[in-house]
Subunit: 84 residues, 2 copies
DNA sequence: CATCTATGTTGACATATGTCGAACCAGGCG
DNA sequence: CGCCTGGTTCGACATATGTCAACATAGATG
């Protein structure tokens, strides 16, 4: 999880998806992060493999959304040590 | 921050320091993570550069502790999007 | 001072990673 | 069917990263 978010481009992509209206974003909505479009696709794939995002094709476009369990998991991971 | 914790060895080291009695750990307490001692030192340096740990030499040993602001920062970073 | 233990630094090296261009699918549309 | 647009996969390449052995430093201690 940390490894997946370790790359600046992936962090931006993840953030863009997470903060996008409706909780989902088409690739075309978030693909202006300063790298070529194949690279965007590559990073989105990594994020998907890491279980942070899910993708769904609807017609021409592919929509990505944040896997809901992820933020909860990170919350548990970090809040507990902080309290201890 | 995510990049610093992206490496498994660093994540273990950070976790070991964070969960150690007294909030601090001597290098000798946490150096059995499966890599050589220079490598441990190297990763601890990275964690320090990333602002996640601080170090202090007391006599023969060097003690590492978690920078307090870090867990709070991560909490803010993740809890807010989760609520939104 | 000589020396021993605990850490840090350096240099070299193999591997992983990010990046791009080119080629390749998928679906809508004339 | 032919083509255009959105997206992914492939292959190649440069750079970053993790790792270790060897050497260097900091204190303690005799």
């Amino acid at each position: 999880m940390f490894k997946a978010l370790g790359d600046p481009v992936r962090l931006r992509l993840f953030s863009a998806v997470a903060s996008h209206e409706g909780g989902e974003a088409c690739v075309c909505d978030i693909s202006d992060v300063g790298v070529s479009q194949p690279t965007v696709s590559h990073h989105l794939k990594k994020l998907k493999e890491a279980g942070l995002l899910t993708s769904e094709r609807r017609g021409t476009w592919v929509y990505y959304r944040v896997e809901p369990s992820v933020l909860a998991a990170m919350g548990r991971l970090l809040v507990l040590p902080a309290a201890a």
